[in-house]
Amino acid sequence: MPLLSDKDRAFLVDHLEGALVGAVRILFFTQSMACQFCKETEAILGELADLSDKISLSVYDFVADKAVADEYAVDKIPATVVMSDVDHGVRFYGIPSGYEFTSLVEAVVDVSKGTTDLSAETLASLAQLKDPIHMQVYVTPT
């Protein structure tokens, strides 16, 4: 049984067709045992990838594909990497359910456009940064 309703699916297909520019790669790191929401997350990502030809999904085993996990600095699962042909450092750790699904869709759009809606003031501030910034947003499922 699909997770997205027909109505939501139709809305998203439309939204993404208008919004997506470049191809988006979703890399999903999972394992078959001892992972609370790995199966559900993979199902959500599968439905997301189905919404547009510009979105592709690759599924990796956290253990068997450790080299790939290390390449993307993935240290816990389920882990979702959203990237173009460039890794922008966007990671979703855990199930992107409820409101976080919207965040995931908008991350896909931003990565696809290669631009954001950040203000000129914000961009000017961020241009001063010299060292890496690690941002973690802790959420709970909705």
């Binding site: 609370q36 929401f37 816990k76 389920p78 990671r91 979703f92 750790y93 855990g94 199930i95 992107p96 976080e100 965040s103 950040l118 203000s119 003031e121 914000t122 501030s125 961020l126 001063q128 940064l129 010299k130 060292d131 910034i133 690690h134 941002m135 973690q136 947003v137 802790y138 959420v139 709970t140 499922p141």
Partner: protein, 67 residues
């Protein structure tokens, strides 16, 4: 995004109670949804390019202009 229920040891480490809680470079924190200028200011604070006092002033100014 880090989903707290699946990673309780991390939620504990960063003392996550209310969500969203944003952790920037391990020791700078932002509670709740925040307007863009405040998020940017917190990033600058974490980078040592803005002081905590300057960020608090910005927060106060934003709150006042929102009223």
């Amino acid at each position: 995004m880090v989903e707290s229920v699946e990673f309780p040891h991390l939620a504990n480490k960063y003392r996550v109670q209310g969500v969203p809680r944003t952790v920037i470079n391990e020791t700078t924190f932002l509670e709740g949804a925040a307007p863009e200028p405040l998020v940017a200011a917190k990033v600058m604070e974490a980078a040592g390019l803005m002081t905590a006092q300057e960020v608090e002033k910005l927060m106060a100014d934003l709150t006042q202009s929102a009223q």
